[in-house]
């Protein structure tokens, strides 16, 4: 029999153990259940050319599959199934209409680096599979995405539409595939399934602002889906929508007393015809940011006031909850962000962030070191040239020594369809108008030449430009190929597109860091800004007119051939069967035919009169036919004149 104190101790210990086990179990389940997160953010920014940028950012994250199983309560199941089925480690799919205006809207900040995408559809994916299986998986992936997002992404399935860059796009070991469809239309049907991936869809929270006519009336809109998956971190899905809009305000055209023109004062209601009446209830955080760029901040500093939400140059309509200032390398303040927490607002007190300008202001956004653009040269349907130009924008490279060794690196990645047959040996480089040897400028080049109907031509180049250069031009000659008549699209005479080329500057980094006041929570938007992003810009899409056949030729051939055959057979049958003059001889034999002429004979026959052979002309044979001819001519002339007058009256 145990002493009562030992028994009590044992009891107490077992109870403690039980409690510990329960706590551990509870925390484990709590960890697994709470790990699916959703955050939504909106960033608004005034642009120098009187427009406004709105950037929606939604992030859903799911823990690793082993912990959570196959049940999700926030994360879209379609995406997790996609990742598991196709073994995707990274994927980005963007739908864009419009062209990002690098001169006005900037090229050096994280927004333009991450969200300025080429027009149409761009898809790239990195697979976690052996290299031999990747092409088949890519094909199935394109079909699945086309069903999911109501777009013709399945056109990227054939080997003529995608390429496998090694270092020109993103450094990889051969498991990256890239494809672009420049002519794909983007409309509400692409946004509908994209919004259905969000837990609150477009019914609550920041996504409820998306008034479709406003979004599609903009100058640029790009919806993007980016996902990263790993065994340790699970799946992180970032959905962003970037829209550049012209706010429709009355004050836009006012002239200020000082003579300059005020920038338009706008608010969320002007942009979207709606106010924000609360957050999505399942979101972990919901914030609205207003970004005031370095250019404006410098002007405010010059005007002498401090950069608060209400200063001499502008005033924000609602007082922000917080303001964050970006610190660059030299600890000098550049841009600043004003943050609003949507949790504090609801349908009774909706949030309508806006900016009102007090003084006219002109500023500019920082641009990439070179402005890259691409155009076609040459004329005719046989050959041409692709030219790419790099125009210096005056961004100084922060290097101590400005001797001849200073150079700026640029990486060019270009995919050209097979029917534009580029001759890569004809590459020529001109720096400030002078032709240079390729080895002086091109550091590294990797070319996959095109094969007819099989592969597009891929080119990845690393160029080194001297810092003092103003303008560089690269030219490549090409021949135009022929397509089979079945391969032409229905509107073949519009031309064929060469997708945008990507130019990146590896030595320039576009990251921005905002010191976060709340150490517990990091905003995904600001996290993206902090990421090391290489400055990138996309060039224009080129439209190449190819020779098109005359599509009506099959019809014409059939018609001509049938006509020729009909004429041939008709005349053949006539020649074989008909005897010329037989009828006349028969009539003459019967003595019926006389010199009265054909028309009277016909008339008599019609009347049913018997032709009397004894009747004969008594008048002189020479003048009568002539007078008859004259009568006929006069008759025809009278009929023609009457018809002319009747038709004109």
């Amino acid at each position: 029999m145990m002493p009562p104190s030992t028994a009590r101790r044992l009891c107490f210990l077992s109870l403690l153990l039980l409690l510990l086990l329960l706590a551990a179990a509870a925390s484990a389940t709590a960890d697994a259940a709470a790990a699916e997160e959703f955050t939504e953010e909106l960033l608004l920014r005034p642009l120098p050319d009187r427009k406004a940028l709105a950037h929606f950012h939604f992030r859903s994250s799911a823990p690793p599959a082993s912990a959570a199983g196959r049940h999700h309560h926030l994360f879209p199941k379609a995406i997790s199934q996609l990742v598991q089925k196709f073994h995707i480690s990274e994927l980005e799919l963007s739908f864009t209409q419009g062209r990002w205006n690098y001169e006005q809207w900037g090229g050096y900040d994280p927004m333009s680096t991450n969200n300025a995408k080429p027009p149409g559809v761009e898809l790239w994916a990195i697979f976690d599979l052996p290299l031999a299986e990747i092409d088949a998986t890519w094909k199935n992936l394109t079909h699945t995405l086309s069903g999911l997002f109501c777009a013709s992404i399945n056109f990227l399935e054939s080997s003529t539409a995608f390429s496998a860059p090694r270092w020109g796009f993103k450094l990889n070991e051969g498991n990256l595939r890239y494809g672009a469809l420049p002519r794909e239309a983007v409309c509400t049907e692409n946004l509908t399934p994209w919004l259905k991936l969000l837990p609150c869809r477009d019914k609550a929270g920041i996504a409820s602002l998306l008034y479709r006519p406003s979004v599609y009336k903009g100058y640029y809109h790009s919806q993007k889906l980016k996902l990263k998956s790993s065994q340790s971190l699970g799946i992180i899905l970032d959905q962003t929508l970037t829209v550049v809009l012209q706010p429709n305000t009355v004050s836009g055209k006012q002239l200020h007393s000082t003579g300059g023109q005020l920038q338009p004062s706008w608010s969320m209601e002007h942009l979207f015809s709606k106010k924000l009446s609360g957050k999505c209830l399942v979101s972990k955080s919901s914030r609205v940011f207003v970004e005031i760029e370095k250019g404006i901040v410098d002007n405010v500093d010059k005007a002498g006031s401090d950069v608060s939400s209400n200063n001499d140059l502008f005033v924000l309509s609602t007082a922000p909850d917080r303001s964050l200032k970006e610190l660059d390398n030299l600890e000098v303040q550049s841009s600043s962000l004003y943050e609003y927490d949507v949790n504090n607002y609801n349908s009774d007190k909706p949030l309508n962030v806006g900016i009102t300008w007090k003084l006219p202001l002109i500023w500019s956004c920082t641009r990439a070191p070179y402005h890259a653009s691409r155009f076609l040269m040459g004329s005719g349907n046989e050959r041409g040239s692709i030219a790419m130009s790099f125009l210096s924008t005056g961004l100084d490279k922060q290097l101590v020594d400005s001797s001849n060794d200073c150079s700026i690196k640029a990486v060019v990645f270009q995919v050209v369809p097979w029917y534009v047959k580029v001759y890569y040996h004809s590459l020529e480089v001109f720096i400030d108008g002078n032709s240079k040897a390729i080895s002086e400028v091109v550091d590294k080049i990797h070319v996959t030449p095109s094969e007819d109907k099989l592969l597009p031509g891929t080119m990845e180049m690393l160029l080194k430009f001297p810092c003092s250069m103003q303008l560089a031009t690269l030219t490549l000659d090409f021949d135009k190929g022929f397509l089979h008549i079945d391969e032409y699209p229905p509107d073949a005479n519009q031309g064929f597109d060469i997708p945008s080329a990507l130019v990146s500057f590896p030595e320039f980094n576009s990251s921005r860091s905002y010191p976060e006041a709340d150490p517990l929570f990091v905003s995904p938007l600001l996290e993206n800004f902090k990421e090391d992003g290489v400055v990138k810009s996309y060039t224009e899409v080129l439209l190449v007119p190819l020779t098109t056949p005359d599509f009506s030729m099959p019809y014409n051939v059939i018609t001509f051939t049938c006509t020729v055959l009909a004429l041939y057979f008709g005349s053949l049958l006539n020649a074989l069967r008909r005897r010329i003059g037989e009828e006349e001889r028969g009539l003459k034999k019967a003595g019926i035919l006389n010199k009265r002429g054909l028309i009277p004979l016909l008339i008599a026959k019609l009347r049913g009169q018997k032709v009397d052979p004894s009747e004969s002309e008594s008048t002189s044979p020479a003048s009568l036919p002539r007078s008859k001819l004259l009568l006929k001519v006069v008759f025809v002339a009278v009929v023609a004149i009457v018809f002319h007058y009747l038709s004109n009256s």
């Binding site: 013709s152 399945n154 409309c187 509400t188 509908t192 229905p490």
Partner: protein, 304 residues
């Protein structure tokens, strides 16, 4: 009965008789809402599908897109969900650079109704709308990679509405100005569908010029077809919207919609009343329907 005057051919007295007795049938069966027994003993009507096809490209064919989207909106409103609708649009009108009202498609110049709305899912768009893909959708013979949302997953209990609009002619329908769907191709596809038990009843509506010729070769039972015009007649557009700059709807579809806008999901209207609502003087063509393959009397609600 406006139809009686216009029906040609030797079967006129028979048709006369039929048309006279149909209202009686309608009255008799109007009270009882239960549908009659199915033609095959095993199949009971348990789902509805819609395949809506617009085959014309380019801005001046705006009205064909508006036709199809009007039917899409009607069909969704009366109860068929997006998962059961295959929508094929050959071009993008709503976000077309020439559209003054981005993301909005109208079928009336009063611009009261935005057909595009906020929730539209297009399954086949642009260059994907081809005769091959259309026939693959009907017969269900796709490549293995094609996703489920692009397949017609109907079974022997399905009622399917197939609506086609575009430019057509004698025994053909033009796809994107590039290729043609012939009437015997369509008849073959429907025959395959019947053999594979892909539908219980099929209603084909065609709004093109000489539409009735497109289903002249059909032979499968259980198919009801209605076209907007007969052989030798054109189908006309309804009105021109001077703001958008092109015609926005065709006459046949306009009158069809006028009929359906009065209905909701619970109405009990019959097809016969739909057919009676077509007035040839308003359509400027004869809406012709073919019911010889259809065994039941015309007392069925479209959406049920």
């Amino acid at each position: 009965m406006a139809f009686a005057r216009w029906v040609p051919g030797p079967s006129r007295p028979v048709l006369f008789f039929l048309l006279k007795t149909l209202p009686l049938l309608v009255l008799l069966t109007f009270s009882s809402a239960a549908p009659p027994a199915a033609s095959s003993p095993a199949a009971v009507h348990n789902n509805n599908w819609a395949v809506l096809v617009c085959t014309s490209r380019f801005w001046f064919n705006y009205r064909h897109m508006a036709n199809t989207l009007s039917l899409y909106r009607t069909v969704k409103r009366l109860g068929i969900p997006d998962e059961r609708i295959i929508l094929m649009l050959a071009d993008d009108m709503a976000c077309n650079p020439r559209n003054n009202y981005p993301a909005q498609v109208f079928n009336n110049e009063n611009h009261q109704l935005n057909l595009y709305g906020d929730n539209v899912e297009v399954d086949y768009r642009g260059y994907e709308v081809t005769v091959e893909n259309f026939l693959r959708v009907l017969t269900g013979r796709h490549e293995s990679a094609v996703p489920r949302s692009k397949r017609l997953l109907s079974d022997e209990g399905s009622h399917i509405l197939l609506y086609m609009t575009g430019h057509g002619g004698d025994e053909f329908l033009k796809f994107q100005d590039n290729e043609e769907l012939q009437s015997h191709d369509l008849a073959d596809a429907v025959k395959q569908m019947k053999e594979k038990h892909r539908f219980k009843e099929l209603l084909i509506m065609v709004d093109t010029c000489q539409a009735a010729t497109l289903f002249s070769q059909l032979q499968s039972p259980g198919v009801l077809a209605i076209g907007s015009s007969m052989k030798g007649e054109n189908s006309y557009s309804h009105h021109l919207d001077s703001d958008i700059g092109v015609s926005v709807v065709d006459r046949f579809t306009f009158h069809t919609l006028a009929f359906f806008e009065k209905l909701n999901m619970y109405s009990n209207a019959s097809l016969n009343s739909l057919f009676n609502s077509y007035d040839p003087s308003m359509l400027l063509s004869t809406a012709y329907y073919r019911m010889d393959l259809y065994k039941r009397a015309l007392n069925e609600v479209m959406a049920r």
